[in-house]
Every structure is written in structure tokens, then in C-alpha cells.
């Protein structure tokens, strides 16, 4: 964690600007504060950094602005003649299934990844031999470093292996809508379904949740851990009494960051999903996420279609924005209440 140092605005003081001792006529506060000389070098440099900082605001505003600008066509089409939009029923019925698909895949990814992340973080910080810790950290970093397009390749290669599992799921759990087979009792032949994409997604967000959670666990105060041990707690009891309660808000923020990543993840999902109709079942082909829809259709798109895709991208931007801000709000609230 960075040590926050107090930065003080200290202008350089040269000889002659300090009043001589013994000679201190009573002054009002206004005159007593001497304005220090500001050198040109300082002025230029600080201006440069200020400009860079303001650029951040500009860029972010720009993102929203330019996306809106290019969405103009879609918005006018929606207002004047909704049937022009893909799907023929207006923008909302076009984007709604995409939003659902995005949320579902992210939710599944999160549900699968979080327990594993917690386990790996606990393993690395409290259970594995000390000497292995850097190696384990490197393994997790490796998982994080692999580009998502390679995950996509891998997902495609292995999707076929899951068909047997999906068939089994539809046989035993088919009464649950998400595992229901198609009308003829079959499941996806290629295994390239939203569930597969979600599982690959969970592996992709695992590293970020793990490394953040690991940092949190490492910060558990030694004194708390020792207090638990001195009372005669076993290692797991110590973790339950000292490590987990301390890390609660950190774990939440880590998972929300993972969620944000899952929502925006494009390539692996785009490569694994084969296009199809929106269906409630996850073991049948079909369903689509926002990012994947854009990726698959953008290269050939033009005119209104292009604008549609950008508008959809704007929707994704807003969703991830809300999730990120929500995550920060939760962290801010729990850290004030808890410790």
C-alpha cells in the first residue's frame, strides 16, 4: 500500500526573503505571509503536470461525448422509425437480450471464480510453505498475463469436451430452465454455449480477484493473528477469527473489480460463442453478450449498423461505470463502518 506523504507546496526561498531577527514590527496576517518567488522552471513544470491531469478529465468526457455523437443516427432512427434497427423491433428489444447475456455470463463467471480465488489467496498467504510464496504469485500473474484471444483459442479447442457434461446436465437438471435441452432433447453439438464462455471467463477473472484478495490477507495485522493463536485457536480458526473478518470489505471490492472485468471481456467470449437466438438455456447454442456482438459484427458494419453497435457500446460503458462506482461506494461504506 502506498505510504501517503504530505506534499507541501514549498516554494524555494532565497537569501533575503526571511525577516532578520530582532526586527519584527507587528504585522497583520495579510502582510506577514510573504509570497515566495516562483521560478519559471517551476511554473512550466507544474503547468505541464496540471495539463496532463486535466487531459484525463478531457479524455473521459471525450469518450462519453464521441460515443454519443456517433450514436446520433441510431437515436434518430429509434425516434423516427424503430423498425430500421436490427431485429426490426426498435433499439431496446435489440439491446435487451444482449444486456441479459452480458449480465448472466458475468454473474456465472463471478460465482465460479470467487470461491476459487479466496481459496488460492488463503493457500498462498497462510497455508503454503513460505518459500513457495513468490512462485505461487508468479503462477497467478501468469494466468493474468495471457491475452484473452489466446483464452479464446483454448476455449474453442476444448469446447467440444464439454458436450458430454452438458448432456448429463440436461438429463438430470433439465427441469431447471438454464439447463434445459433444445426441443429435440439435444444440447449444443460444438459445446460453444454461453455457459462455456462463462466458464472460460471465470478463469480469466480469477487472477485479478486472487491477487487483490491476496494483498488484503497479507495485510491482516500480525497482532490479531497472534491474539487468536494465543487463545489456542487452530490455523483455520485463526483465519476465521482474524483474517476473514478483517478482509471482508477488501474481498467485496476485489470481486466487484472482477465483475467489472467480466462485463467488458470481449475476445474470449466472441470467439467461443456461436451466434443464435436468445434462449434461457445455457447448454444450447445461442445467446450473446454486448462486447461479443460488437466484436463479431463491427468489421463489416457501415452506416446505421455501425451507429447501432456504437450505441450498444455506450450502453456497456454506462453499465461498467455503474458497477465500478457501486463497488467504490460499497468499499467506502464498509470500511467506515467496520474497522
Amino acid at each position: 500500500m502506498p505510504i501517503s506523504t504530505q506534499t507541501t507546496e514549498s516554494g524555494p526561498t532565497g537569501p533575503g526573503s526571511t525577516p532578520e531577527s530582532g526586527q519584527k514590527p507587528p504585522q497583520s496576517p495579510a502582510t506577514r505571509q510573504q509570497k515566495a518567488v516562483v521560478r519559471p522552471g517551476d511554473r512550466i513544470f507544474s503547468a505541464a503536470t496540471l495539463i496532463a491531469g486535466i487531459l484525463i478529465l478531457v479524455i473521459l468526457a471525450g469518450v462519453a461525448l464521441f460515443l454519443l455523437a456517433q450514436s446520433k443516427d441510431t437515436i434518430t432512427a429509434q425516434i423516427s422509425d424503430p423498425s430500421q434497427i436490427t431485429g426490426g423491433k426498435g433499439f431496446f428489444s435489440y439491446v435487451w437480450p444482449l444486456v441479459i447475456g452480458t449480465l448472466i455470463s458475468a454473474a456465472i463467471a463471478l460465482i465460479v471464480a470467487t470461491p476459487f480465488s479466496l481459496g488460492i489467496a488463503l493457500f498462498t498467504t497462510h497455508m503454503a510453505p513460505r518459500k513457495l510464496a513468490p512462485v505461487l504469485g508468479y503462477v497467478i500473474d501468469l494466468l493474468a498475463a495471457i491475452p484473452s484471444v489466446v483464452y479464446g483459442l483454448w476455449g474453442i479447442a476444448l469446447a467440444g469436451n464439454l458436450t458430454g457434461f452438458y448432456l448429463w446436465l440436461s438429463k438430470w437438471f433439465g427441469w431447471i430452465p438454464i439447463f434445459a435441452p433444445a426441443a429435440d432433447g439435444s444440447v449444443s453439438q460444438t459445446g460453444r454455449t454461453l455457459l462455456t464462455a462463462s466458464l472460460v471467463l471465470s478463469i480469466m477473472i480469477l487472477p485479478i480477484i486472487t491477487s487483490l484478495t491476496r494483498e488484503i490477507f497479507l495485510q491482516t495485522p500480525r497482532l490479531q493473528e497472534e491474539a487468536a493463536l494465543a487463545l489456542g485457536a487452530t490455523r483455520w480458526e485463526m483465519i476465521r477469527m482474524a483474517v476473514l473478518p478483517f478482509g471482508k470489505s477488501g474481498i467485496v471490492s476485489a470481486t466487484m473489480l472482477g465483475l467489472g472485468r467480466a462485463l467488458g471481456e470481449t475476445m474470449a467470449v466472441a470467439m467461443i460463442l456461436s451466434p443464435g437466438v436468445l434462449t434461457a438455456s445455457l447448454v444450447v447454442s445461442g445467446n450473446q453478450t454486448i462486447a461479443s456482438e460488437i466484436a463479431q459484427n463491427f468489421p463489416e458494419a457501415a452506416g446505421l449498423r455501425l451507429s447501432e453497435l456504437i450505441t450498444v457500446g455506450l450502453v456497456l460503458f454506462v453499465i461498467t461505470l455503474l458497477v465500478n462506482m457501486g463497488a467504490r461506494a460499497i468499499v467506502a461504506r464498509t470500511s467506515v463502518k467496520g474497522s
Binding site: 513460505r130 495485522p221 497482532l223 490479531q224 497472534e226 491474539a227 487468536a228 493463536l229 494465543a230 487463545l231 489456542g232 485457536a233 487452530t234 480458526e237 477469527m241 482474524a242 473478518p245 478483517f246 471482508k248 467496520g338 474497522s339
Partner: protein, 259 residues
């Protein structure tokens, strides 16, 4: 409810480095023993071997015997977790569990051992432990508030209550007052005087006057130089140590010629 502690030929290691060499002493039940000595002489290290907290540090080990009423806590088949249930510890900085209320803090150790405590049993035990730590009157109306909301001295007494709630044989205190103001320190020293009726107390302190005030016997540790092991120099009645010590080294420390 207190035990006699016999330390025999105790050497303490961090990896290969011998930190403390050849400690030999016998601590009688229901007494207060103080460990004094300059910084780095190993007194806290020796204290932590008495409840097998020393080995929590990776690579740390011990050779020799520590007998509690004749049973070697480092013997074969001994589970450190069991040792720590018999021996309570209070740390230099108060460490109540921040996510637990005062009552939950007191009962934390007890809950680990026997989950089934009826409500009346729990309440009785909480009151007994808090009275034993001279904290009951100050917190009896806010038992359900978080433990971290108390002052430093109160938090430390809460930790003492937590330690005695499990009814240990021995109570170890590692510089319990060093982070407290003089009034709280006095409160805790009075408390130690009461505790010695029931427990064997061993206290590490930097403050010689405190050792003189509270303890029956005092052990003086010293270290020859950096990189050398700490040693027990003298173990005697407190009054003897502070007025007429056996060794010159002790005499020099007491009179402030080094420290």
C-alpha cells in the same frame, strides 16, 4: 488453578542462529515473576516459548525442556494448540478483535473450546472475567458495543479478561503497560496483584520500577553483544535483586550504568 513452571536447559533458535542460551529457572505457582533486561536480550523470546508462540515464526525452534507441573510442553505428541489453551497471553499492544463486541471478545477463547454455552453461562462467565480484570463496572452497560471503542487501558484490560476467561494455568504478559498512560498502568499493576492469587503470572517489562512494584521474583537477562545469544544472568527474590544482587552485571544494570 495455577502451575509450577520448570525451565531446563532451554536454548532458543531462529533458524540456525542461537538467540538465547541455556535458561534454567523454576517459577512457583501463584507468584508473579518479572523478566527484565536491556533491549534485545531475549526476555520476550523466552516468554513466548512458555506458550509455544515462538514457533509461529517460520524457522524458529527450541531445544530443552519446559515443564508445567512436570509435563514437558515440548514433549513428543504435544499439540501446541492445547498448550496455548492452558497458558494465556497478553500482548504489548492491546489487540481486541475489532469486529467483535466486548462480550464476544471476552468469550472468544471460550467459544473455541466448547461451543455450547447457554446464555446464562455465557453471561456469568463474561461478568466473572470482566470483574477479574477490573473492567466490569466500566463496561457492564455496553457489552454489545465493539471492543475497539474503549480507551487503551480499557482495551488492555479487555484482553486480560479475554485471557482469563478460559481459566488458564499461567498468564504471560509481554510489556503489557508499555503503550499505556501512567493511570492505566497503575490500574493494571493493581490488577496483577489481584491476579496472583489465582494464576502463575510471568511479566516482561522494560520498567525496572514496575518490576520492583509487582513481582515476587525477578529474572535478569542480558546479552553480551549483537550477534551473541542472550543469557539468564540472575534469578532471585525481587527485593534481593534490587538491593543486593548476586552478580556485578545485575548491579550495573540496576544502577543504570547501562540499559
Amino acid at each position: 488453578m495455577s502451575k509450577q513452571i520448570d525451565i531446563k536447559d532451554l536454548d532458543i533458535f531462529y533458524g540456525d542462529f542461537r538467540a538465547v542460551d541455556g535458561v534454567q529457572m523454576q517459577i512457583k505457582p501463584r507468584s508473579v515473576t518479572a523478566f527484565i533486561g536491556p533491549s534485545g536480550c531475549g526476555k520476550s523470546t523466552v516468554l513466548r516459548t512458555l506458550n509455544r508462540m515462538h514457533e509461529v515464526i517460520p524457522g524458529a525452534s527450541v531445544s530443552g525442556e519446559v515443564l508445567m507441573d512436570g509435563n514437558d510442553i515440548y514433549g513428543a505428541g504435544v499439540d501446541p494448540v492445547n498448550v496455548r489453551r492452558e497458558v494465556g497471553m497478553v500482548f504489548q499492544r492491546a489487540n481486541p478483535f475489532p469486529t467483535m463486541s466486548i462480550k464476544e471478545n471476552v468469550l472468544a477463547g471460550v467459544r473455541l473450546n466448547n461451543k455450547r454455552l447457554s446464555k446464562t453461562e455465557a453471561d456469568d462467565l463474561t461478568e466473572r472475567a470482566l470483574r477479574g480484570a477490573n473492567l466490569w463496572n466500566e463496561v457492564k452497560d455496553r457489552l454489545n458495543l465493539p471492543g475497539s471503542g474503549l480507551s487503551g487501558g480499557q482495551q488492555q484490560r479487555l484482553c486480560i479478561a479475554r485471557a482469563i476467561a478460559v481459566e488458564p494455568e499461567v498468564l504471560l504478559m509481554d510489556e503489557p503497560c508499555s503503550a499505556l498512560d501512567p493511570i492505566s498502568t497503575l490500574a493494571i499493576e493493581d490488577l496483577i496483584n489481584d491476579l496472583k492469587d489465582k494464576y502463575t503470572v510471568v511479566i516482561v517489562t522494560h520498567n525496572m520500577q514496575q518490576a520492583a512494584r509487582v513481582s515476587d521474583k525477578t529474572a535478569f537477562f542480558n546479552i553480551a553483544g549483537t550477534g551473541k545469544p542472550g543469557k539468564l544472568i540472575e534469578f532471585n527474590e525481587t527485593s534481593t535483586i534490587f538491593s543486593n544482587p548476586d552478580t556485578e552485571e545485575t548491579e550495573n544494570y540496576i544502577s543504570g550504568r547501562f540499559g
